[in-house]
């Protein structure tokens, strides 16, 4: 079991530093904006001025996770599907519009995917293992699998994160690359993860992620089967796709609350975490599948709940 000692999200929901986000959830509608904190509380003005939205969000939630544990993280593992799109687009514009040799470097520097984890290492003054995974819709699962490895290798606390950034241009890719009804946006969810239990109640039991297109039902069967857990024992399912594996009253469509970004299932895990505490229930499953990418499954357990 990999205990969640802290989870922090910046999303369209009032999710930042709330104890039970589920009580505050509102379905996203057109014109909805991100609930952002005052970033000046997290980053010095001299650094903040350069940071794109994804970097601001990620640093703030990372610092909240660091604040919650008393010891430096021994590893940082981050998943992002599309990385720093604001700066990527900015530098594409620089490349195509500026005449001559001398180009502004800032957006190029901040366009690489690991700008996020690199900046966090700088801001936390953390010299440990620092990894960035990017595998389309299962990027968060890949970062989680790495975090689990880190914990098993003896690292005490791991900072696990997911962050993605929506830019206006993505809307042009509808309906060819992105489904036409999607509310494309940004979000960041970070966790302080550890095998040490101390005060934590909820943990991640296991994660499975596959790239190939297999049926969701057979994936769920093999995942729960390996863990020797009956489907009926799952109290709640947070999902971004349809499956008849579970009764509809147990299913919550997390994308209605997160909007579309390819690591939004991390916010599903946040919702599941809070729900298990609030309801004193035992098992929650987060199901993530998209027609283009892979299938990811994450099982959470509440140690305090009765069977």
């Amino acid at each position: 079991m990999y205990y969640i000692h802290k989870v922090a999200s910046i999303t369209h929901q009032n999710s930042f530093l709330q104890n039970d986000i589920n009580a505050l959830l509102v379905e996203i509608t057109e014109g909805s904006v991100l609930f952002a904190p005052d970033y000046k509380k997290y980053v010095l003005p001299s650094s903040l001025r350069r940071l794109s939205p994804i970097l601001r969000m990620a640093v703030a939630v990372a610092k909240e996770c660091q604040e919650a544990i008393n010891t430096p993280f021994e590893a940082i593992s981050i998943g992002t599907a599309l990385g720093c799109l604001t700066d990527t687009e900015k530098f594409l514009n620089v490349v195509n519009t500026v005449e001559g040799d001398i180009l502004s470097p800032t957006s190029f520097i901040q366009s690489t995917h690991n700008t996020i984890s690199g900046l966090i290492s700088l801001e936390l003054k953390n010299h440990s293992y620092n990894m960035t995974h990017t595998q389309n819709n299962i990027s968060f699962e890949m970062a989680l699998i790495d975090s689990i490895l880190c914990c098993d290798e003896g690292k005490s606390f791991v900072l696990l994160g997911a962050a993605d950034e929506g830019i206006e241009f993505l809307n042009k890719l509808k309906p060819i690359v992105i489904s036409k009804d999607a509310f494309v946006t940004s979000g960041a969810t970070f966790f302080a993860l550890s095998k040490i239990k101390s005060n934590a109640e909820i943990g991640i039991v296991a994660c499975q992620a596959k790239l190939n297109k297999v049926s969701i039902d057979s994936e769920i069967n093999s995942f729960l089967g390996n863990l020797q857990i009956d489907s009926a024992a799952i109290d709640i399912v947070y999902s971004n796709c349809l499956t008849e594996h579970f009764p509809s009253e147990k299913m919550i469509h997390y994308e209605k609350f997160s909007g579309l970004y390819f690591t939004s299932n991390a916010f599903g895990v946040h919702m599941a975490h809070d729900w298990l505490i609030e309801q004193s229930k035992k098992y929650a499953l987060v199901v993530n599948s998209s027609c283009e990418g892979g299938i990811g499954l994450i099982l959470l357990r509440n140690d305090k709940a009765q069977d």
């Binding site: 940082i76 190029f108 520097i109 901040q110 010299h127 595998q135 790239l211």
Partner: protein, 391 residues
């Protein structure tokens, strides 16, 4: 637990496969020259002299993809040549890339800015994860596929991740490495940082000005003992050490004393259970930027307590292939062990004043090469070290 290397593949400016790369390394032949494409023609680059169509036909590639994916397919196929898929050998692919499908994206985006007809479908290629999915598809690998994107240390980190997944029993066999194609985005990007040398790059030279960019891909196949029992493969070498650490100093620059590099080399030696003086050759990151080479030199002096083993940067042959460099240089590390040779560092005339370190200047043959240490450092202070050992 032993991690065996049972296959390797590489495409770079100095060759389409392992054999061509080895021959040009031995003959001390760089392939860095004036670029062939619109955006590269003004610069000295390590470019692969094929168009995408030529790559597809020359190497018989069946899967569509960006140039980054095509280069990855070429090298990964060579690494996985004569390997078979078995139901009970859990096989994965972990690939490092920094640009992903940027080569197609930048073309499309240019059309979009000009108001020309655009084909939004081409953006399917953009995500780095798609690059790996396309390579996996060409190899027939499904199941575990992952992409690491930590700038210039991506491939080294993919190799490290693969080793850890094998050690934990999560996988039995994994193809690991990285790929990056030259793009206008990266050429202009490194120029904007003013760390581009318009002449041949001079790693570890006192008068070094900056890097030459290159493109390519390099992959190795890692297997556990259990996997080898099924696949029947013979090990070329072993991967014995790995580590990643953060410099936590600056967004782009390395710390003056190479703190992150010292950490990663130290930890990799620990993982391998080796002492510094067990290392026979260091394939340095050596980008030839003033900052990297000084910082890496200081880190080497510290780790080896002043007695730095023979070292070189092979980026003087291939250019800096960014995310692919750790993959390509891993293949070179295995070649060094197999052939008992140490590769020279081209274009070196005078040692860096502050350190006095002199790299290998001519090919050295018939050397005892038991352990090779390979460094890859990326933006964001991402420092990785791999150690390769005789099987």
């Amino acid at each position: 637990m032993d991690i065996f290397i049972t296959g390797y593949g590489v495409i770079s400016a100095i060759g389409n496969n392992v054999e061509e790369n080895l021959n040009n390394l031995i003959q001390e032949k760089t392939a860095i020259k004036q670029g062939l494409r619109n955006f590269s023609s003004k610069f000295k680059v390590g470019e692969i002299p094929y168009t995408n169509e030529e790559l597809r036909s020359e190497f018989n590639l069946k899967t569509e993809g960006s140039r980054t994916a095509l280069l990855g397919m070429v090298a990964a196929k060579e690494a996985f040549l004569n390997h078979e898929l078995f139901d009970h050998v859990k096989t994965g692919l972990i690939s490092g890339t920094s640009v992903g499908g940027m080569d197609t994206t930048e073309e499309e985006y240019k059309k979009y800015l000009k108001g020309d007809r655009v084909n939004y479908k081409n953006y399917f290629n953009h995500p780095s994860g798609t690059t790996s999915a396309q390579i996996a598809s060409e190899l027939g690998i499904s199941g575990f596929v992952n992409t690491i994107s930590t700038a210039c240390s991506s491939a080294a980190n993919a190799i490290m991740m693969g080793a850890r997944l094998i050690r934990s029993g999560y996988l039995d066999r994994v193809i690991v490495g990285g790929t990056d194609s030259l793009t206008q985005f990266t050429i202009f990007g490194f120029r904007s940082l003013m760390i581009f040398d318009d002449e041949w790059c001079k790693p570890f030279d006192n008068s070094r000005k900056g890097l030459n960019l290159g493109e390519g891909a390099g992959y190795i196949v890692l297997e556990s003992q259990k996997s080898i029992q099924t696949t029947g493969k013979i090990a070329l070498a072993k991967l014995t050490g790995w580590s990643n650490a953060s410099d936590a100093f600056h967004q782009t620059a390395s710390s003056p004393d190479g703190d992150g590099a010292v950490l990663s080399m130290n930890q990799a030696l620990q993982v391998a259970g080796l002492k510094p003086n067990d290392i026979n050759y260091v394939n340095a990151h050596g980008t030839a930027t003033p900052n990297n080479d000084l910082s890496e030199s200081k880190a080497l002096i510290k780790i080896f307590n002043g007695k730095v083993p023979p070292f070189s940067s092979t980026k003087s042959y291939t250019g800096h292939t960014l995310a692919a460099s750790g993959g390509i240089e891993s293949v070179y590390a295995v070649l060094s062990i197999q052939n008992k040779i140490l590769f020279p560092n081209l274009n070196h005339t005078a040692p860096i004043e502050e350190t006095g370190l002199i790299p290998i200047k001519r090919i050295e043959k018939n050397m005892e090469v038991n352990h090779v240490l390979s460094n890859s450092f990326g933006f964001g202070g991402n420092n990785s070290t791999l150690i390769f050992s005789k099987k």
